[in-house]
């Protein structure tokens, strides 16, 4: 049986640097899957490779819903239903919160006004803080609010898969907890989640399955629960 999202033998090079050395992983519908690993292990490159945004050379295949997505343009990949919330959030600083969210509907299907308004309501329901700040410029939000805005924008076209790159980066522990609860909520609403995290402990707690990336290779894979109690993982990533 084929997988929902299936990355096969993906290798990425930037000049003479090997970022990924031929990794394969997959995500099933409705799962939360996490890739954990330290800095420079190749986590961000894996997501960039799926979105076809690698500025280097890339070999391997990306299958999504039994269709070969490897050579689709980044915008086409979005249209297929894969949403990518990049590291560093990349919100539009000079647009308001609401305009930022509306930009999220651009690439995908063209919604009518009612549908867009409904989606906005849904996002505001999940992130009440964004509703309060709807007319504020994106660049003036706090880090946590920007992360929420980036996730909200990524959800605006009802994607099938949401890929999150380090959503906890640079945020206070309380805000991180809030965001991870939201990720569970997003999955429960029917969106599959592929989560990249340096904060392995948190990621494994909410993930159904996890992969451990080291120097561009996948060294371990198991359920989130088992990885959380794996000696190797505890020693290397949980620091207990």
């Amino acid at each position: 049986m084929s997988h929902f999202l299936d990355v096969q033998d993906m290798a990425v090079r930037y000049g003479s640097v090997n970022a990924l050395r031929g990794i394969s992983f997959h995500v099933e519908r409705g799962e939360i899957v996490t890739l954990i690993g330290s800095n420079g292990a190749g986590k961000t490159s894996s997501l960039m490779a799926i979105s076809n945004l690698i500025q280097g050379t890339r070999t391997g295949r990306v299958m999504f819903e039994e269709e070969d997505n490897t050579h689709f343009s980044p915008s086409k990949i979005v249209k297929r239903g894969i949403s990518h919330v990049p590291e560093g959030r990349h919100i539009f600083p000079k647009l308001t919160v609401e305009e930022n969210l509306l930009m999220g509907t651009f690439g995908a299907v063209k919604y009518d006004k009612a549908k867009t308004a409904g989606l906005l309501e849904e996002i505001y329901g999940m992130f009440p803080r964004l509703r309060e700040r709807r007319n504020q410029l994106g660049g003036t939000l706090s880090g946590g609010e920007q992360q929420m805005l980036a996730i909200g924008r990524g959800l605006m076209f009802s994607p099938k898969v949401l890929m999150l790159d380090e959503p906890s980066l640079g945020l206070a522990p309380l805000v991180v907890k809030e965001i991870f609860e939201l990720i569970l909520d997003i999955r429960d609403r029917g969106t599959t989640v592929l989560l990249i995290e340096q904060n392995a402990g948190l990621a494994l707690q909410i993930a159904d399955r996890g992969y451990v990336l080291e120097n561009g290779n996948i060294t371990l894979t198991d359920t989130g629960e088992n990885l959380l109690h794996n000696d190797q993982v505890i020693k290397a990533y949980l620091g207990i």
Binding site: S51, L53, Q55, S73, P74, S75, V78, K79, S83, H84, V85, P86, H90, I91, F92, P93, K94, L95, M103, G104, F106, G107, A108, G139, R153, G154, M156, F157
Partner: protein, 287 residues
Amino acid sequence: MILEQLMNGLGQGAIYALMSIGYALIFGVVGLVTFVHGDVIMLGAFTAYYSFVLLGGNLLLAILLGFAVSGAMGFFIHRICYNRFFNSPRQISLICTIGMGMFLRNLVQVVAGTESKPIPNLFGSGSVTLAGLRITYMQLFIFAVVMALVLVLTIFLNKTRVGMSLKSVSMDKTASALVGIDTKRTTTVGNMIGCGLAGVAGVLLAMYYGTITPMMGGNIGMKAFCCAVLGGASSVGGAAVGGLLIGVCENLGIMVFSAGMRDTVSFLLLILILLVKPEGLFTRRSR
């Protein structure tokens, strides 16, 4: 006298505004300065000349043709200078625009000849007097065209999907690609509109100066660059104000110095601004 010079300055500044708005649009989507802009403006000016000579003195037609010819050139410039070099070192595109400028200049010299061409004055010397201030028909026409274009552009950038895509690509290419915007196509459109506006600016300049040469682009391009940098390089509104400001300063400056010092005034202004506020007059650093 001062008021009249101010009026002249605003008239010329309106043209500068138009060409620097085009510059800012291109700089926004490409993220790189271009050195072919002046020659695209020159192309617009020659389009006006041929339109007047071959098709009669129809102003609207000349403007439409100026927009179309320069806009089409924008498409080729994008194809030749930017499209295949997106992942190459940035200076390659930049040098490519310099080469493209030389090519255009020489092409027009081959086709039209090297001597300067006269542009008929379609307005005569007519003028209206408002509260003691004399405004020529030519100036009125320039104001009308520039204001109409700015209005259309503002609506386009803020209310249409393509316009919003342009805005977002100039803010953040990665984010735009990740919300599903076709960044390559958007960049092409940005280049075409930017060059098209430059073409219209060329038509207006031709009428304003009354004479054009294939070499006019060098200086004019640098001025468009000045105005755009003054306003913060990728800010369309800023570029417009920068254009007006330089136009006014030039015309007030030549009252103090002499007509030959016109360019000195604008470039001096650029150097001063870059020393004092290098990010442009109207941009605040955002985090």
